[in-house]
Point group: C2
Chain length 287, copies 2
DNA sequence: GTTCCGCATGAATCGATAG
DNA sequence: ACTATCGATTCATGCGGAA
């Protein structure tokens, strides 16, 4: 039985990150507070100050990431004064100057985006998932995220997420369900760089920053069991919870005491259920 | 009967654009040659030179666009040396310095993207559709692009053909069929900023840069009948052909004589079918 | 067990109002 | 003129309860 560690840390990640070993993390996946949102938590960063605020953090992230590790940054620019603000694209340029490679930009299509109507714009239903790396040789386990779909399904229902298919499969007796059953026997195909995932409604227990399917996809794609996953803006702990479920060690950092206590409590629970030996120490269990 | 003009011009748009009146175009929609592609046509612009090459053109486009007009730029950065190149985001920043407003970024999800497999990246199935404007008050006719079915059906079965629906509806007692019947009665809803459009296979002789559905969507959204549409990188003439079909005047420019002759011939044909009076002169028929 | 209906809930944005 | 707050708008999703 593998020893899986889940470390939950309270504090400003800009400072906390300095205490982590360099070259110790396999995957960073996080969704930092967007500009001017989450007021009071991070002081509500103004769009014009966003890049300056984030760069010291990304510098530390560059330090703690393993040479073959990956950094996935979920972010989206706000509309300011009728225009898309440029802080995200400016951040990309500045992070490259820090030494990051801007390897890829995945697209998160939010199937259920926020409603609303305005005279000059439609609803915003996508967010950026920026992939950064330290070197061109990084770990990627593509087979772990292959999509089970045959020809029929590939052409007509490529937008379905895996959970959608599982759910619809359970609808016994419907022609739809029967077809899904057939697809599952077909060969698997590789996904593309567009992810179709709905945001989770707060009907569930925790209203998460992003749905579990999102960190799950990247954790499967860029790490293997026993690797270390870091989320410096943990929030409600989606990343660390998924990492633990997938038998990855993880570190979650958040500046909010409320989030910290909630996630800590949760982590203590699944620690008991999953570990049969004493918890691994950070830094000792790495490959 | 409205007089619809379709002007096809041979030449380098950087020069040709100078001959167009200022504030005369309602919509510019184009897909310029991507960096390092279409070699020989535009000399195969190197990624590092892309911004410098495009800025003189975007400056002219700013001049000819009406104050309430819109510029839609279809573009995607190439992978260079394992990284996404930054010329697109640099271009956004530089165009803002020219006076353009970066109003929105639509996402084109290419449902059937180019096949292939690489060890460190998935297939690229999306492109940017950057919206630029001269002022915050621009024309937008949102009702023209409303889509039927706002719920379950829209995302999951929008690709089903009508025969598919009929067939499945006929399955007596299946919940699937019952649902299809309900979807058809739903009201229309506004779309989001994500467009799900398949790339067209080479049904015509020349492979089009983008499918007709793409310029059609923006022409409906940002212009009304009799307005002027411009495509400075006409290519196989998708934009002008769609514009004519939708009763918009249009101007297409291309540096390639082959493209020019092909589109010119095509335009001469539909000129005959649609016009009952002599062709309108450019600049005389504007609102 | 399944389907249908109603309801609450969002990483939103604009325009108006108030200091 | 410039910033802060607030109401109106809108729809995919999941849940509970009823047929």
């Amino acid at each position: 039985m593998k020893k899986i560690s889940t470390k939950i840390i309270l504090g400003d990640c800009k400072e906390v990150l300095k205490s982590l070993d360099e070259n110790s993390i396999d995957l960073i996946v996080t969704s930092p507070p967007y500009a001017d949102s989450r007021n009071g938590t991070y002081g509500g960063i103004k769009p014009d100050h966003y890049v300056g605020w984030f760069l010291p953090i990304s510098k530390e992230l560059l330090r703690v990431l393993k040479p073959d590790g990956t950094f996935i940054l979920n972010i989206k620019e706000k509309v300011v004064n009728g225009e898309r603000h440029t802080y995200v694209i400016e951040l990309i340029l500045e992070m490259r100057k820090q030494g990051w490679l801007w390897t890829e930009e995945f697209m998160w299509h939010k199937k259920n985006c926020y409603p609303g109507k305005w005279p000059n714009r439609f609803r915003d239903s996508w967010e950026r998932l920026l992939q950064f790396n330290k070197s061109k040789k990084f770990n990627m386990y593509q087979e772990e995220v292959m999509i089970p779909m045959g020809d029929w399904a590939k052409r007509r229902l490529s937008n379905l997420s895996e959970t959608d298919m599982v759910r619809d499969t359970s609808k016994v007796g419907s022609g739809f369900g029967k077809k899904v059953a057939n697809w599952l026997n077909k060969d698997k195909v590789y996904p593309t760089n567009v992810l179709h995932i709905a945001t989770e409604c707060s009907n569930r227990n925790h209203s998460a920053v992003f749905p579990e399917a999102l960190p799950e996809w990247f954790i499967k794609l860029f790490t293997k069991e026993g690797d270390w996953v870091l989320d410096p803006f943990m929030g409600s702990g989606t990343t660390t919870r998924v990492a633990n479920r997938l038998k990855r060690n993880s570190i979650g950092i958040d500046i909010s005491k409320d989030y910290y206590q909630m996630v800590k409590e949760d982590a203590d629970n699944y620690k008991d259920t999953l570990l049969f030996e004493k918890q691994a120490q950070y830094g000792k269990n790495r490959k």
